[in-house]
Amino acid sequence: MKAQGKAFRYGDNVDTDVIIPARYLNTSDPKELASHCMEDIDATFVDKVSDGDIMVADRNFGCGSSREHAPLAIKTAGISCVIAASFARIFYRNAINIGLAILECPEAVAGIKSDDSVEVDFSTGKITNMSTGESWSAEPFPPFIQKMIASDGLINYLKKEVLV
């Protein structure tokens, strides 16, 4: 499986309060949440994003609150993958649990600018900057997490593996 889209480039410590501000958490409707995604650091994100686009950020992406509304808003907005130098741990597990693709690869992050065209091959972890021709390999997920992703998220995995 591959994803391709234009890059939205952000810095260090993108927190869940800017991904989806708490003032919008009085709903759990994914579409409504997505309509305010990134609003407090990038007011034009929602207008510019197209299905398949890729979010690229530096260290500690998704720090702060445990709100699953954050990866949900990003996924529903159309983002196919988040590439970061590192992820905050609750965001990391939330993304896996809800099936938002994430890759940790500081080298790729350093080589991607806003609006670059980026391709990600999920089966190999290969990230390619189509605008520059450079490519990198992200660390593959451990087998346990791969199984969870293959089951399309935590709930289906547990239904198959634990509750039987």
Binding site: D15, L25, S28, S66, R67, E68, R93, N94, N97, L163
Partner: protein, 422 residues
Amino acid sequence: MSMTMSQKILAAHANLDEVRAGQLVMADLDLVLGNDITAPVAIKEFAKFGIDKVFDRKKVALVPDHFTPNKDIKAAQQCKMMREFATDKEIENYFEIGQMGIEHALLPEQGLVDAGDLIIGADSHTCTYGALGAFSTGVGSTDMAAGMATGKAWFKVPSALRFHLTGKLGKWVSGKDLILHIIGMIGVDGALYKSMEFTGPGVASLGIDDRFTICNMAIEAGAKNGIFGVDEVALAYLAEHCERQPVVYAPDEDAEYDATYEIDLSQVRPTVSFPHLPDNTRTIDEVGEVKIDQVVIGSCTNGRISDLRIAAGILKGKKVDPRVRTIVFPATQTIYLQAMEEGLLKTFVESGAVVSTPTCGPCLGGHMGILAEGERAVATTNRNFVGRMGHVGSEVYLASPAVAAASALTGYISNPETIEEK
């Protein structure tokens, strides 16, 4: 074996003799927590399991505390959904308005946390319960749903940082100053994926409320959990609140730590986190002139009785600056009542502060104290991200109850050491 406290608790709950850092384990849970923001998403996910019951109706806690008392119609709908789920699934630990408190102050107070427990909560500050020697960590709503259905969660066993404490904190210096100092030292991702374990002879001088504050903010350094060893202070608290027998884990003598930090508590100064990250700290001596519009004293970080006593001690017999909106919110009904009986609420009202019902409202910019553009607040809360307490152009300065109360009196971020007690 060479395991940390956190690793021992995970091993015991995964039915393993030993675990090592990096290992993925499936572990049995003692408690699963959710609130009015995270539970509605979890309830929708829970429905996908197609089962009628939660794994144990005594081991699920639902606390409507974030946007309550309901701030608007949408929040009311979310709370209604949670209330109906609690009724339908016969959840024993559902806390309605009137019994409700801020979840991380409420659960230990209600005896739902014991030493040695493994707890997940769909709220990042679930790490608070490490103060009582529990392994507790924040997760998302899907993990909460899975926890409610199966009584299990997956964990990557964390490595640990050790904070070896010696000495004793100064008079106006509290656990809040210590944890802000530590976050300033290691950064907002300084403990990413790791445990923060607090040890050493200095621990004995820290009261339980200070320990709750310290573990509460472990997440602000990116940590998976914060944890203290179980000593007489923790055992006394547990004896008063929890009916179960504590299970005490100590780290092995040869437990491995990624790093050890030596901290002399007597050297820690009142500390303030400037916008817009908790690690942007300055000691009170380096703050300079920062004019403020609002003071918020409370939250899961600093809304406990010790915090209110410290703030009231500074405000007693004085008036807050009339330009400064000073909002005090005790964390639970029990704390509220205790503060009333001790005369603290009278002190707050007489000083010109308002006292709110327990709620997370102002901390996350939900309600009950939102900032306008360009406004600044000194808050005893836990985050000062862009737009955290309101307008994207507002600012939050994190501080202890003592610094917050002193600042309310002067209208500028102030050193409690310079305020004369009456």
